[in-house]
Every structure is written in C-alpha cells, then in structure tokens.
Symmetry: C2
C-alpha cells in the first residue's frame, strides 16, 4: 500500500472520492484484455489536466509508478500495474469537446469511447476511420497510446494518421501541447507522433485533436468462400496488383470458420479453407460498383464462390461471421493468446502456412484471422492457463510465430502493442542501437521511470517467454489475489 | 579549418577524393535555397552507411559539427553550416534500391531526387504523392528531414505519411533501423516518425522505405478566376463542407497574378483578386467527372469564371501560372523571404487579410500563394538585402505574420521547417514545456550537440528577428566570403 501521507496528499489534490484504496476497487483495476492480473496500490480518477499534473508531481517526487488507463481492452498487458503504484483512470475525462465541420477535426478528452466519437461525427457527415474491434470498450486515449488499428485501416490508415495534436502531462507534471489544429505542421519535432503508440510510458495524454474525413456515402460488402487457402492468398495479391484498395479485406481460416459455425450455426461452409470479407466504400456509387465488380472478378478467378450484399443490412449479416470469431473461441478454451504479427502483405500466405505448421507441431487449437489486405495477421492460441504443460506449448509456439514474422520481413506486433506480453521479444524485432535510442528517449522524458514502468522494454536476459503466468516485479508490487485465469473479454 | 590530423583521419575512413577542403569547394557548400551563407570547414561525400558511421564517430569524438545535406533546396537555412564543421553531402547515396510492386513500397537511398522516384514508380503504375515545388532539385533524404509537403498533399498527405522505415546513423556513429517494411507496426516507439521532420538534428538518415499507392488513372484540372478574394475563400470552405477532397486546391492572390502576368504574359486577368487552381484525380472516370462538376458548381456559385482543361496538356497549361509565380518574383527584387504559415483551413481568408494589412503597413511587395485547401499559406516578402531599411521592414513584417498565424490557431511553418530562419520564433508557436521536452530528446540522441547544431531551437533571448543578414556563431565558424545576396533559386 502507498504510505498514508501520500494517499492523503492525493486526496487533497483530487476530489477525495476520486482516490480509491479499498480492496474491491483495487481488484477491479488489476486486469485488462489479457488474462494477466496485478494489483495497484491506489486508483485515482482525475477530472482535469491540472489534477493529473498534480498527481504526477506527487508520484514523481515519491517515485511511485503511474499506469494510465483507458477502457482496459489492451491485449498486451499494457494497463496491468505490474509494479503496483497508482492506476490513473481517465474515465472521467470523457467529453467530446468539439466537432469542427469547417476544419474537419474533433477535439476529445482521452476517456471518450472510440465508438461514441464515430457515432457523433457520423451524425455530422464526417468519419473517424480507426475502428479497433474493441471500439465499444476502448477509449481514444487508449487508441492513441497503442496506435490502434482496425478493419478500415487498410484504406484509411491507423490512429497515428489521424492525430493532429495532443495535450499531455510529462512524468514531472508539466503540461504541454504537441502538434495542433493544422494539417501541415513542421514546427519542431513530431512529438505528437512519438507519443502515439508509446503505451503510456512517455507522458499522459489529456486531450486529443483528431483529423476527420468526409463520411463515405456508399458501401458494398462481399463474402468470398474459398476451397483453398492459396486461392484466398492469391486474391489478396491480385487485388493489390490491380491497384485496388478496398476499405477492408479480412481473412478467416478454416479453423476460425469451424469454431464460428460450431458455436453460432450461421451456415458457414466448414469444408472451405478460407473466407475473405471485402468492403468497398466511397462517394460515388458507380465507382464503388465498378470497384466491387473488378474485385468479384478476381475472387471468382481464384475459385471463390461470392455472396454480394444487396444492402447495408445484408452487409452487416456477412460481417457477423467475422465478428463472431473472437467471442466464439471462448466457448472452446478458457484462455486465448491473440497474436498480432505484421508482415509485408506478399508474405501473408507464407505467414499463415508457418502458423499452421507451428500449431500442428505444438498440438494447439489455433484459429487464424486478420487484416489480410495490410499484412496484419492474428493467429490465436487457445489454451487453459491451469494446464502448465499446455501453457509451455503456447509459449514455445508464440516464440516461433514471432521469429517467423521477423524472418518474413515483418514484426511482432501490428496493432496490439508490446506491453509486457512481448517485451522480452523486442530484441528479435529491433536492433540493439534502436532499442538503446528508444531507452534514451524514455529516460529523457521520464527520468525516474514512473510512467508505466516495465512495459515495452525487455527486463530479463535471454528469458524469451510470453508471460502467460504473470510474475510480479518491483518493490511496490501489490499483493496478488489470485493467479487463475480471467475470462476472455 | 579542421585540424590536419582530423582531415587525414576522414581521408582514411572515406575514399580520399571524397573529402573536400579546397576553398572553391567550401564556397559551393555554403548556401542553400535561402539567401543565407556560411562556410563549412570540410565537405565529405560518403558512399556507404559504414562510411557515414565512421565520419560521425570521428566528429563526435572531436566535437565537430556535422550538417547533413541533400539537394540544398532548403528554405529555412537548415543546410547552412552556421557553426562551420563538416558538411555531410549525401549525393553519392543516390540509388533507388527497390520498387516492390507486390507490397507497394520503395526502398531508396537519401540522395535520390524526389522527381526521379516519382518517375520510376509512375512507370510501374504506382504513385509517390509528396511533391514539394523543389522536386527536381530536392532529395528524398531532405524531404524526410523536412517532412516536405507539396501540392498533392491536400488529398494524399505529407512525407511523414509515406515513411514506413528508416535506416539511420546516430550522432555517436551507431547504425540502426526504425520502422520497417510493414504497413502496421507498433513494435516500440514511432522512432521513424520522430526522425521525420527533425531537420538533421537527431540522426543521419541513410536509407528510406516509402509506402506507395496505386497511381490514379484519371485527372481533371480547372482554373477559376475570382473578381473578389472573398469568393475564392468561400469556395474553399464550401468544397470542404461538401465533403470533397480534391488532389490540389491552390490559391494565387492579385499581387501574384500581376507579377506572373508582368513577367510571363500568359494572358491572366490582372483585375482579378484571386485565382484558384483545382485538380481532381482517381481511378474512376465518372467519379472524377462528377466531382469536378460539383466543384465547378461551387466555383461558379461564388462568382468565378471557370476554365476546364480538356486534356492533360491543357491541364499543364493551367498550372503554368502557378508554377511561374515563384521564379517571376526574382525579376522584381533580388531577395525573397518565402513565408510558410499554416492555419486551420477556415482561417485562410483571415490569414490572407492580415498578410495584406501587414504588407501595406510595411510597404512591401508581398504576393501570396499557397495550398488554400489545407491551410498552408505562403506570403512572400520581396526585398533587396542591400537596403538595410527594407530589410528591417521585412523582419518586422515577418514577425507580425508569425504572430497572426498563431493567433488564428495556426503555426509558423507548414512545410519549410524552422532551421535558422524561424528558430527565435519557436516560443510563440510552442509552449515552454514542449520546447523543453524537444530539447531533452535532442540531448538524449545527440549528447555532444554535433548534429546540425543551432537549428530549430532558439539561441538568443528576446531576439525575435528573422536573420536576413546571417550572423555566424560558434568557435568553429568558417570564414565568411561575402554578405551579398545570393540569387533566388
């Protein structure tokens, strides 16, 4: 627990009811979207940037870890307070401050849910493309911290492409603004881009200015069923070579199809080796029709049977299979390690083949789905955390998947982040000089290492294991209540 | 001059003929796209990343400034060796290493000319959108260092949006790779984005992996002549509100029109207050026609007379006026301070009004053109450097233009960079906390301050003047040959 005088000081700089130290509260803040768990010593819910600055000044002086937290849908353990300390919950900073239709931008607080912004700007004829699957739970602050992707990012780009400006608080409690409200800005370094994807380790983001685009007025969706995985792979390559950029191009492998069908009975063909879901959008109906015609031609030429949605409702039905896959896995095994490798798109077929070999080698149930169009593949290792032998196989398989991705010219995470799950693998994806530079940037911005310590950077030497069972580190580590698996969310 | 043993060591780590110390050579490397001038002590032309690393190790040990240099078309004095030292000319690293049509990317050395990449990828059906006006002279390394923009960036985004990965050498001579060949990558910090726009102050970029897009197959160009500036301003706002994003939307004010007409006799209407040039592009001819129809409707509704190009050749003719304006100014005055403020696009009319007031107040010839669609405005102050009284008026006017841009929610540079021209104004655009963070990042990556020292960050206190006459600083400063104006390039 934190020293009493520190808790008292936090209660004096915040509204007293916004400082939680009850056991039940601490337990509520010990988990995220992984199965990992570690107890904070205190949870604070600030209401303003000034309060956040005050908390950070106290924490920096007292050398107490601070873990910024949004919707806690994180899939790399980034919001787990592994060193104890203070969880800084940004949930009360949840206002959309401005939607500027003249300048195509929105200003939001970090606690706004991704979906809420999407809905609000849609109503004004605008569009905020990044759409992580967690968008009903994730916050924009979390999306910025993780540089979140999503289905629509193939055509529209990930979160970083939409961040124009950030207000932030440094580890020492200084309030600053990086970037701004303009489209083109080369005044000083791209600090706002350094903060995007920094997983809460460099500063606390307290306000976000996001670029918006006009809402595409037309959309067409198709589902293509492939007897062979090779046909689906070839399609992705052919679409790219034809100069077509669909809004989304999603793949499900046979294992994924079978899991969804077993659980949801959608009538999917379980003998198919792959399904591709394709969406085209834009502002000209004829152009979209033509684009979808060209894509349909490529799909059929590669052996697919194609279902074309006649309207938006039918389109949503086609997407149901893809959306069902992640929840469906929970019915088969209590735990899931949702991997997130990213490879050059031409290497997607090879990556999927390697994953299937690895799954077979370690006798693991491993559905694969992902954003085939941009090379971001999610092999999902299903397991039961209570089975230590299975856990070992998952750890070995995950390590081989990371190595395969890097060998194919890719990297270990495309949109989930490094967090604690992959920190020991950073060295297979980045060279020593680059890790040293990144560590020096961290030290420059957070000299006492209080901001989300233990995340991103390797702690051990040669200990290349995904921490499926969490080992708490640090003197301030909170008491561990339980090591059993938490449900998949 | 550098100590003899240092020159000897440079000759031993490089090919001896790649180390220049002759007076004529040093003079050649003392200028860039501004009228500023300062002499280096030595020029090196490395042929490999290893040679660059070796040069930096020597320079870091000996505390010698190193100024990386591309095409030297820089408009903020960023390539001027104001502290003497070594100019690191990257001209010999000028190969396009790879154009990967399957993965839509190119790998290039930093000395490749922007236009050469554009041409090479066009031939493969691909497109590299960033198109600074200097593209026949500028290099991709320089574009990365400055985060260069251009006309097509309204629709397609600036250089940073296309940088997937960088190989770089640190100030201490370590070779590293940031980012990679994948579209989605959240492994560690966005170091490649921190380096983009860092003006050669954080590392030397030695290889660039650039995202490409399919080449748009169709293009339509229109020129709209407005009796009033307000009509042109309203058009920009209306096009944005209609959800249309043209490829380019360029403005010329009356002074620009008159200068071009005086010099080039293109038949432009000198009584018009503004011209807008609009380009639409895309992959569907019908969609482009419809988009141009909608734009033409908006142009006419705001009082413009519209000329529509019937083919690409006619389109080029319409662009001739815009391309002629910068060279034409050279006929009127020997020097030009090409300003580069960036404001939220709804503030463009107010920004232009303020510029005209400031131009009148200081009795300066100030044509204004720029990228109206994205809020990046170029007020160009014409002057004669030999007239100290006029120089003073230019300095006062520039300072007021910067203040006006910031007051309108904008910033002091949209695409030219800070360099030495605007370093003393950094504090009006960025808050003290942000400048302190940026300085700490610089210190972390370049502990001995050898990489392009004196750029970006303010050196003086309260000395807010654009250095129209260059004052050399630093013990290592080279001898100044002349302080007369250099021709506008």
């Amino acid at each position: 627990m934190l020293p009493q005088h520190v808790v008292a000081e936090l209660r004096s700089v915040l509204d007293p009811e916004d400082v939680l130290t009850e056991r039940a509260d601490l337990i509520s803040y010990s988990i995220d979207g992984t199965w990992l768990e570690a107890r904070p010593e205190c949870v604070v819910l600030p209401r303003s940037v000034e309060q956040i600055a005050a908390v950070l000044k106290v924490a920096n002086r007292e050398r107490i870890p601070v873990v910024p937290r949004g919707g806690a849908s994180n899939l790399s353990g980034g919001t787990i307070p592994t060193s104890g300390g203070i969880v800084l919950n940004l949930a009360q900073l949840n206002r959309i401050l401005e939607i500027d239709t003249d300048n195509l931008l929105a200003v939001v607080q970090p606690g706004v849910l991704t979906h809420d912004l999407d809905k609000a700007v849609m109503a004004r004829g605008l569009y905020y493309p990044p759409d992580p699957s967690s968008l009903h739970q994730s916050t924009l602050g979390g999306n910025v911290a993780e540089n979140a992707g999503g289905l629509r990012c193939l055509k529209y780009g990930v979160t970083s492409k939409y961040v124009l400006g950030l207000q932030y608080v440094t580890a020492t409690g200084q309030i600053g603004r990086a970037g701004g409200r303009v489209i083109k800005n080369v005044t000083g370094y791209q600090l706002e881009q350094l903060l995007v994807g920094s997983e809460g380790t460099l500063a606390v983001v307290t306000e976000i200015t996001l670029r918006l685009i006009p809402r595409p007025r037309f959309k067409r969706t198709a589902m293509a069923i492939f007897p062979t995985l090779d046909g689906a792979s070839q399609t992705v390559a052919d679409v790219t070579r034809a100069g077509i950029v669909p809004a989304a191009l999603e793949l499900m492998d046979q294992t994924s199809i079978r899991i969804v069908e077993e659980v949801r009975h959608l009538g999917l063909p379980t003998e198919a080796e792959a399904i591709l879901l394709v969406e085209c959008d834009g502002n000209h109906e004829g152009a979209i029709e033509d684009e979808m015609d060209r894509i349909t031609g490529i799909l059929r030429a590669n052996g697919a049977s194609v279902q074309l949605a006649r309207d938006e409702a039918e389109g949503e039905e086609l997407w149901a299979a893809r959306r069902a896959v992640s929840p469906a896995t929970a019915r088969l095994k209590p735990n899931k390690l949702g991997e997130d490798v990213s490879v050059p798109r031409s290497a997607v077929p090879a990556m999927i083949r390697r994953c299937r070999e690895i799954g077979a080698k370690y006798d693991l149930l491993m559905p694969i789905w992902g954003h085939a169009g941009d090379g971001n593949v999610h092999p999902n290792l299903l397991f039961d955390q209570r089975d230590p032998e299975e856990v070992e196989r998952v750890q070995a398989a995950a390590a081989e998947i990371f190595e395969a991705a890097v060998a194919l010219g890719g990297t270990i995470t495309g949109e989930h982040g490094v967090g604690i799950l992959k920190r020991e693998f950073l060295g297979i994806a980045l060279d020593p000089a680059t890790i040293a530079v990144m560590r020096s940037l961290k030290a420059a911005m957070d000299p006492n290492n209080i901001l989300n310590p233990g995340k991103i950077f390797p702690e051990g030497e040669g200990n290349r294991r995904v921490p499926v069972q969490l080992v708490l580190t640090g003197a301030g580590a909170g008491e561990v209540e339980s090591t059993t698996a938490t449900p998949i969310r």
